[in-house]
């Protein structure tokens, strides 16, 4: 849905629409439009202003959450946070001038966007040494991608897949995790059946869930179980017999080569390892292969609903309404299981831009770290340091806590992780090569907290600025320490 094309007045007809189709009224947009225009003007006005003036203007910008996403700049910033890792002031400006459809389109059609600048700056991972790259190098490499990419949705989807189709450094090597990460990037918005078939043969996955040792006559249930419980239908849609039978279907694949350099191993199908007997799976009987099992699982409604729920919860808000899940599951099934079609639909729903969605997610440590580095700047060493700083915040890239991935949401926040999130913000702000009042003001309004904070937060920032009139980095830190910034 394109909100800019929406009918100006709510009618009984629009009221009866499902909530993601209900347009926001023009009147509601106009009511808060003045604040939006004000924000754009202020970004200019602030150049050269001092901290006191900035905070005086913040007071004027404070307004109710309910109308926040009616403001074109806030909508753009919201989309850039959710579809990526937060926008710069320029990016917010560029998207704010577009219609909702064009905004979403510009993020979705990233194949047309060159990532040459990023590619030129990324370190070359040493994939030739016998030991392979070390974990820190791969983590820093990915974090740098998140910060510098010109295709934010590509990286965000890669993070999504890493959290759903998990593998981890507790079993797979860093080189293998790197190879898997590139697979997720390449197939970020692909058809789900194609992605699952590829992941089933991905070396990191084969090691993580033991497909590599799954042999005819000696089945290993690990991958078959998690494929159903976590990757497709979810629990309650299969039996223990389905687990045992599909484990037989995934026999035959193993890893070859790489005796010296383990991460260069390739998956290979060895016919004599394959259990060619009849299997009965989900009420069907045949000489099924692993690909056949994927083709049985992906069309199931439970798979469509589960993946739709996961995607919407990742991008918009948790516990989506059943009608939203139903709609997205239809999109998934009607598009031959195309993930890009579902994501496109999410970014066009009014629910995505509703008050319920605004700041309704906790920033994951990856999101928090990447957005902080985008705001404060980073050099090569900073990426490694920041990747390490994510551990006490509760997320180590390539090292999910278990095969279910990070639980996310409320679990990101406890007393220890929150202190570490604030300490990281301080360290980053103190290192930032900037912090003129104008830049601080720009951070505050355009990129970090949408110029939209509670009166209490504004009072706290003013109290800080009054006590530390020259501490620009401190004010940047305090802005990132606000509860508003901790949310996404």
């Amino acid at each position: 849905m394109n909100m800019d094309d929406a009918a100006p007045t709510p009618t009984s007809a629009t009221r009866s629409l499902p909530i993601w189709r209900r347009p926001v009224s023009r009147r509601a947009v106009l009511a808060t439009g003045a604040a939006g225009a004000g924000a754009a003007a202020l970004a200019v006005l602030w150049k050269g202003a001092d901290l006191t003036q900035i905070l005086n203007r913040v007071r004027d910008l404070t307004h109710d959450y309910q109308g926040a996403l009616s403001n074109p700049r806030v909508r753009a910033a919201h989309l850039l946070r959710r579809a990526g890792f937060g926008g710069t002031g320029q990016e917010v400006d560029r998207l704010a001038a577009m219609t909702t459809t064009d905004m979403a389109q510009s993020l979705l059609d990233y194949q047309q966007t060159s990532n040459a600048t990023l590619d030129g700056q990324l370190p070359t991972l040493d994939l030739s040494s016998a030991k392979g790259p070390n974990p820190g190098a791969v983590q820093a490499w990915w974090l740098q991608r998140m910060v510098q990419t010109a295709r934010p949705l590509e990286e965000k989807m890669t993070l999504f897949w890493h959290g759903l189709l998990t593998s981890g450094l507790d079993k797979a090597g860093p080189g293998q995790m790197y190879v898997q990460n590139e697979l997720f990037r390449k197939m970020a918005l692909a058809n789900f059946d194609d992605l699952l078939k590829a992941v089933s043969k991905d070396p990191a996955m084969m090691i993580y869930l033991d497909t590599e040792t799954n042999r005819k006559g000696k089945p290993n249930e690990n991958y078959a179980r998690e494929l159903m419980e976590l990757f497709t239908t979810g629990i309650g849609h299969y039996t223990e017999d389905d687990v045992r039978e599909s484990a037989r279907a995934f026999t035959g694949w193993t890893l070859q080569g790489g005796k010296q350099v383990r991460y260069t191993m390739q998956s290979a199908f060895i016919p004599r390892y394959f259990d060619g007997g009849q299997k009965t799976f989900m009420g069907k009987t045949g000489n099924f292969t692993g690909d056949d099992i994927v083709e049985i699982l992906v069309p199931l409604r439970a798979t469509a609903e589960r993946l739709s729920t996961r995607l919407f919860s990742f991008f918009a808000y948790q516990n989506p309404e059943p009608e939203i899940v139903h709609h997205l599951a239809n999109t998934f099934q009607q598009s031959h299981y195309n993930v890009g079609a579902v994501v496109r639909e999410i970014f066009s729903m009014d629910a995505f831009y509703s008050a319920k969605a605004y700041r309704a997610l906790v920033k994951s440590p990856a999101e928090l770290t990447a957005q902080t580095l985008r705001a404060t700047g980073a050099d090569a060493r900073a990426y490694l340091a920041a990747a390490n700083a994510m551990a006490p915040m509760g997320q180590v890239l390539f090292y999910p806590p278990n095969v279910a991935g990070w639980p996310g949401g409320a679990s990101w926040i406890n007393s220890s992780t929150l202190l570490n999130r604030l300490n990281f913000a301080n360290a980053a702000a103190r290192r930032a090569p900037m912090s003129s009042p104008a830049q601080t003001g720009d951070q505050l309004t355009a990129t970090l907290v949408d110029g939209n904070i509670t009166g209490n937060t504004r009072d706290g920032l003013q109290a800080f600025a009054a006590a530390h009139p020259d501490d620009h980095a401190g004010l940047l830190f305090m802005t990132m320490a606000t509860p508003e910034f901790q949310l996404n």
Binding site: D170, D210, E212, T213, R215, K218, P219, N220, E221, N222, R225, E229, I235, E240, V243, K356, R359, A360, L361, A391, P392, M393, G394, N402, V403, A404, P407, A410, S411, I413, N414, S415, S416, T417, L418, L419, N420, L422, N423, N426, R430, T454, G455, N456, T457, D459, G460, A463, F464, A467, D471, A473, G474, F477, M478, A481, T482, P483, E484, L487
Partner: protein, 415 residues
């Protein structure tokens, strides 16, 4: 030992006396003064060690005389070095510390622990154990309910260190409205608002302005969580800083061992005297579907050495009779090994309770290897019976109320 009143005198008051301290801490201070581990009748501490992934019970408490065990485990069976407990059962050779506790009468082993209609999903089964409900789900954890009970009867230390876990996530067992803390280290558990010149900048007053009303002014569903968590974090970190950081371990913990580091951190927190009531550490890696033996052997060795050091450390600090350690895992493994020299998900497994409070011995009944359910052991003791025994027999808490049902009390613990 360092009493709560001592640290009040020595450290806490100067920290809290300044006008810069938000008023919420005044409440915590008053509450803390009224309470100390020594002053309450129930200063007992329960430490859970989670063996995540599904520990192979049959290769932990080994039925070494049972031919069916040897038949089912052609490559994984322990043929030599089993630490015999009687003429049927013995501990894995790497559990020498546990064996020493057994010999000292300080190890209780409950055999065949599980629950009806076993769930072979890691996450469903963990959730069942964590909530003590066969429905599982996202409700309060069973120890969260215990902390709520302490609150209700006025035995809570009133800060978030009454329940601690080592790591960055709060385990679901401790989940409830009562705040608890996930810890990575005590020394970094504090705000460090140092500026470019190395000077501490006062940020707590503005932070309290941001967060103090975010419960109502912030957005659903996480505004309230941020508000309360920040307050709890500052309160707990102040309490910690007010203690003298003079913990010296009275045991040598194994180096380069995450489980040892976790238990050492728990020991340090307990010894700080702030009133830890329940603690949780996790040792992962037990989901041994392939090439199990070297991995499992190493995990058991690491767990044994770390727990032995922990018990020695606490005893050295005078906490020996106040701490009970209990291990749990979401399930055991399939009786018959699979073709990858590993084991798939199974059901019943033994639980271990360790420390001066236990009455050493074997409890319950070893499941039969000849009478299986789809290749899996049939449980003989419900895990909630073990929980009930600990809640009632050790923590003096109303087990039936906290578990939502009556379970047999096993005589695992001294009065």
């Amino acid at each position: 030992m360092f009493s709560r009143r001592d640290f009040m005198k020595q450290g806490l008051l100067p920290v809290f006396a300044g006008s810069a301290v938000p008023s919420i801490f005044a409440n915590g201070l008053a509450a803390a003064a009224a309470d100390s581990p020594q002053a309450t009748p129930n200063g007992r501490i329960l430490v859970l060690v989670q063996l995540a992934g599904g520990n192979d019970g049959l290769n932990t408490l080994i039925p070494f005389q049972d031919g069916a065990y040897h038949d089912a485990r052609p490559t994984l069976r322990q043929d030599t070095g089993v630490l015999t407990l009687n003429n049927q059962l013995g501990l894995h050779p790497n559990l020498k510390g546990l064996k020493a506790s057994w010999d000292a009468g300080q190890l209780a082993i409950v055999q065949g622990v599980g629950y009806p209609s076993p769930n072979l999903s890691h996450f469903a089964s963990m959730s069942i154990w964590e909530t003590a409900s066969v429905q599982g789900g996202i409700g309060d954890g069973w120890l969260g309910r215990y902390l709520n009970y302490l609150d209700k009867v006025g035995e809570s230390p009133n800060h978030a260190l009454e329940g601690v876990s080592a790591g960055s996530l709060v385990p679901p067992e401790l989940r409830s409205k009562t705040p608890v803390t996930a810890l990575q280290s005590l020394s970094t558990f504090r705000l460090q608002p140092v500026n470019e010149h190395g000077t501490q900048v006062d940020v707590e007053n503005p932070l309290m302005k941001f967060y103090g009303a975010f419960k109502t002014a912030g957005p659903a569903p996480f505004g309230a969580l941020l508000d309360t968590t920040l307050q709890e974090a500052l309160q707990a970190s102040h309490a910690l800083q007010a203690t003298d950081a003079t913990y010296q371990p009275k045991a040598t913990y194994p180096a380069k061992s995450p489980i040892a580091s976790s238990l050492k951190l728990v020991a340090e927190t307990i010894v700080s005297g702030l009133g830890v009531r329940v603690a949780h550490v996790t040792l992962g890696g037990f989901d041994n579907h392939a090439r199990e033996k070297p991995v499992h052997d190493k995990l058991l060795l690491g767990r044994d050495q770390a727990v032995a050091a922990f018990m020695q450390d606490l005893a050295g600090h005078g906490y020996g009779d106040k701490v009970l350690v209990m291990t749990w895992s979401e399930f055991g493994r399939r009786v018959k090994e699979n073709g990858s020299a590993g084991t798939d998900h199974g059901t019943a497994a033994p639980m271990f309770l360790l420390g001066a409070p236990v009455k050493g011995g074997l409890y319950g009944q070893q499941p039969s290897l000849a009478d299986l359910d789809n290749g899996n052991l049939k449980f003989t003791t419900d895990f909630r019976s073990v929980y009930a025994s600990v809640l009632q027999g050790y923590l003096n808490a109303p087990a039936s109320e906290l578990l939502g049902g009556n379970y047999e009390i096993l005589p695992l613990l001294k009065a």
